[in-house]
């Protein structure tokens, strides 16, 4: 049955390979590498690879740092049902809505700029710093962190309970460690080492992000999914094979990272539960 489920994906992979080599689809005539070389020469491949890796890394680092800070600083508060509910609440926001909210909140004519104008801090929208559709993808990172941070926090809280974080801290304190020493030298490595598979999962999922960069990203360079969709649906049919070449690079990257994820997951023995399930398990 797993093989049956994999068949459409295998078809997608094979078709993408054939199309990118000119062996299938509309422009098919003879085997050629011209679409691959076009993707490399016009900078689409490297630009997309660069921005996708940069944004996925930044999103993962931001979410991991915030989730670790929340878990280490406020674990006793967040372990209560009301605390867990507060952590899980941002997870109810779909990525498309997150993109819309961040745009309406942070664009130069958005809510924050209007509050600034109300307080007399700025006169025109142009006085507000550019935080969306910007060069560094600040809006994209922020919108993704809105959902990735709570997800990781819930996972770390679950891990803390499963690995008896409280008892380890008490033991460290009884050996003379201060409150922060115990957190930095005992709790932090515990969460990072056991949570690395899930941190990698956040990275993989961010790599394929579509809706948020579509709303908050720039025209050039674009993340993998956005560029692939643009090239596949554009008027220029000669760009379609490039979309498939880019898809293959994306598939290769994700499958390699997935193998690393499964290996890490097996080694650390942690099982990633979806948010609602985490709540049930808790």
């Amino acid at each position: 049955m797993a093989v049956g489920l994999a068949l459409p994906f295998a078809w997608a992979l094979g078709y993408a390979a054939l199309y990118s080599l000119g062996l299938a689809g509309l422009p098919s005539a003879r085997p050629t590498l011209q679409y691959w070389s076009a993707a490399v020469q016009d900078g689409a491949l490297l630009g997309s690879l660069g921005i996708s890796l940069w944004l996925a890394t930044t999103i993962t680092l931001t979410a991991t740092t915030l989730a670790l800070a929340l878990t280490l600083c406020a674990e006793p508060l967040l372990r209560r049902p009301s605390g867990r509910l507060l952590v899980a609440l941002p997870l109810t926001m779909p990525v498309l809505v997150a993109g819309f909210v961040v745009y309406q909140g942070l664009n130069p004519g958005g809510l924050l700029a209007r509050i600034g104008a109300e307080l007399g801090l700025l006169e025109n929208p142009s006085d507000f710093p550019i935080l969306v559709n910007d060069r560094f993808g600040i809006g994209i990172v922020l919108a993704h962190s809105l959902s990735a941070t709570p997800l990781l926090t819930l996972f770390f809280l679950q891990l803390w309970r499963a690995r008896r974080g409280d008892e380890r801290l008490l033991l460290a304190a009884s050996l003379g460690a201060s409150k922060w020493q115990a957190r930095l030298h005992v709790a932090l490595p515990l969460l990072l080492l056991n949570g690395r598979a899930v941190i990698l999962l956040i990275f993989i999922l961010s790599l394929g992000s579509f809706e948020i960069p579509l709303l908050l990203g720039r025209e050039d360079p674009q993340m993998f999914s956005v560029l692939i969709e643009r090239k596949a649906t554009g008027y220029d049919l000669q760009e379609r094979p490039e979309a498939f070449a880019l898809s293959l690079v994306y598939f290769f990257l994700v499958t390699t990272l997935l193998m690393v994820f499964l290996r890490l997951r097996k080694r650390s023995g942690t099982h990633f539960l979806p948010p609602h399930q985490s709540e049930t398990a808790a």
Binding site: L86, P125, V254
Partner: protein, 269 residues
């Protein structure tokens, strides 16, 4: 006071969480409460709840989008939950589990829109592109993998022993499912049903790309509203999209809180 005694850091953490949970809701409720939003006003130009009136009056396609999304979520949930359960069972009982596990996890991590781009020609050839069935089938492929991942840790030797016990007492296949598996699985089935329905409810990439604009789900409608600059209606569509997940999270939490509060005095007696 109790919070203050715990120091400043937990308070900052709570502040961050309140902002993350509250800011989006404030923006959406504010924008959906009226019409227009010209600079530099904090509130809509006219607070007339016109977007809500459009929804209740069945105008601007919001109601039909709601119905389409509900229908797709129901179909995907009904297909993917049992399929995911069977898939995880097949996975647990077979050799070469590493490869099969990889195959089940693959759709879970792949971008639906990239897969949609690669599957489009196939769907067009079998006349599934640009229609409701095509979108539901594509969403079900991903949701089944998702359900498979949820059920993957369910099967264990204890469960197998229980199944054997039912068999040794004369139970057939149906009795094994009913007496050995169902009591253990029903919690996870509910979780998987909710997750698969939510996957379909929130999907934009597959519905937009494989639907070709002819399957107006709520996400597709929301994106169209954002693109045409109808911020008030888009905010309402955003609230509608969030509603099932909020209800799924908050309602059980409130019920648990109420039940535990009701039980406390009786325990004391």
């Amino acid at each position: 006071m109790k919070l203050l005694r715990q120091g400043l850091t937990p308070l900052l953490a709570l502040g961050l969480l309140f902002s993350a949970a509250g800011f989006p809701l404030v923006v959406l409720i504010l924008l959906s409460s009226g019409t227009g939003w010209t600079w530099p006003h904090l509130f809509p130009d006219r607070v007339d709840f016109a977007p809500w009136a459009y929804l209740l009056g069945g105008q601007r396609g919001l109601t039909s989008a709601l119905v389409t999304s509900l229908a797709a979520a129901t179909c995907v949930c009904l297909i993917s939950t049992p399929a995911g359960l069977l898939l995880s069972r097949a996975l647990s009982g077979s050799r070469g589990t590493g490869v099969l596990r990889f195959l089940v996890y693959l759709p879970f991590v792949l971008s639906p829109v990239v897969v949609g781009v690669c599957l489009y020609d196939l769907f067009a050839r079998i006349e599934l592109a640009g229609g409701f069935p095509g979108v539901v089938i594509a969403q079900s492929l991903f949701a089944t993998a998702f359900a498979g991942v949820i059920f993957s840790e369910f099967w264990n030797p204890g469960l197998e022993a229980r199944e054997q016990l039912v068999s040794s007492l004369g139970g057939g296949r149906w009795a094994r499912w009913r007496h050995a598996l169902w009591p253990e699985a029903r919690g996870l089935i509910a979780v998987a049903a909710l997750q698969t329905a939510l996957f379909s409810w929130l999907d934009f990439g597959l519905a937009a790309f494989l639907g070709g604009g002819r399957v107006p789900t709520l996400t597709v409608t929301l994106f169209a509203l954002i693109r045409e600059g109808s911020v008030n209606l888009a905010a309402l569509a955003g609230l509608l999209l969030m509603a099932p997940a909020i209800a799924g999270l908050v309602v059980p939490a409130v019920i648990v809180q109420l039940v535990s509060r009701r039980d406390r005095p009786s325990e004391a007696q």
